[in-house]
Amino acid sequence: MTKKAFRPDVDAPEYKGAYVPYDIIKEGAIAVLVVFILTAALALVFSSPDEKAITIKTWSNADAVDFAQTAGDELAGTSAVAGYGAPYNSNGTSQHWGFLSPEKWVGVHIPINTSQDFVIDPLSAQPAQPALTAALNQWKSASSTVQTAWADAFNKAEPNLTFVNNRVIIPTKAAGPIPVLLNYETQMARSGALDQALVTQNGFYTTNYTKPLLFLSDGTYFAGLANKQHLLGSQWGMMNETGQYPGQAWLWLYTFWYQVKPWSTSASGDFLVWGTMMILTALMVLVPFIPGLRSIPRKIKIYRIIWREHYTQ
């Protein structure tokens, strides 16, 4: 029989020592009981958070200016979602690292045209009103060059947009039908009709909230609420929960990379963070096969504390 050298980080010595009584079923039963009681006690004492979901109705009523500005950006094609890139559209620069850009390779799979999906289509489904119909016809029949000119004029006037007496006031006369469209869009949002219109575009039944969530994410109102709940990325928000509750604390390492350069400042920060975590995860899964890494436990000797009784005998 051939012999090979004992590899201390791969092979385990044969145990020839004593065995002690062990009731595996009793151990399992006690563990379940203790965890159940502990869980019930924590639930009774601390409960759980449930901050109500916001709607486009609550947003537009709480901050009509932010809503109208965001809707204008969606119509003008200058919002974050409008220029996002894959998988929603092809308008943005995909995140990449060197030649690696899986976002770009996969392409557009969930097509979103913010102008059409968030503004024109919902308004077109409204009951006919002469001013609205005229504004929609003016927008739809205009060339893209003309639409861009109107959008540019809106973007210049946007910082001075106001909401007075239930009307959106945009201080420009060069924005074509945009002021009229945004007025109707804002009224629609404040009534709750826009919430419904955005989720029913695919029919009666729906469980897909991609469009209203993307619309919400473009405004500053949503992020302002998250800021108050310490949920922003700069607040380690990925592992936080609303209120004073523990969240996904196990995501601390994902969140960590978002706080340090170059991950925190790169335009492809998300891809760098996820790429980094994929590599670290692969190392963790494959540690038994990686020389050096698999020697760490033997060298740091924490095992001597765990098996201290064994070593003292």
Binding site: E14, G28, A31, V35, L42, F46, P102, E103, I110
Partner: protein, 208 residues
Amino acid sequence: MSTDIDRQWTSRIRHNVVDKLPPDKLLPDTQPAYVASWIYVFGVTTIAALGVVILTGIILALDGPQWWHSSSLGHFVNSMHLWSVEIFFFAMVVHLWGKFSMAAWRGGRSLTWVTGAVTFMASILAGFTGYVSQTNFDSQWIATQAKDGINSTGGGAFFNVLNLGQMLMWHIVLLPLAAVVLTALHVIMVRVKGVVPPFEDATTEVSA
């Protein structure tokens, strides 16, 4: 000489299973004396917490995903679901670091480590899909933030975190199934190979 019965798939599988995992290994009544540390408690605690997570999840599923917003009983069950998840991850992480410190992959136990690590990953995904399925402000915010990371990998085209229906299905069907199957495989491997023995100081030789 093998008979027709011995060559049956059923017979072969039964013999293999019984050979590798006889009843006294599956349900042992003794264990090596070195298994004497509190660190060993965290493995069984993880499984116990997984049981409570699944039980409370099943109760939450009975009346649909929005029941817990309007019912005090539902809110209590949701609270138990949350806290059992917190205990589950705490116990699992301590278990993982404990097993790393013991180099628990030694002695032909590499796959036991790998299934444990993959179970950890599946659990993180299960927890995440639960957070985005809460149908409240937290789920709205987490979904809109998480989309950027997942989209950057190309995965967002197929795993749309803004699609509540898709996330809920992954959370209550696919990922629990993965977690339970992986946990079962992990436990079976532990029972087949036994708990890893301590490092020995003296260098010895093993038969190849």
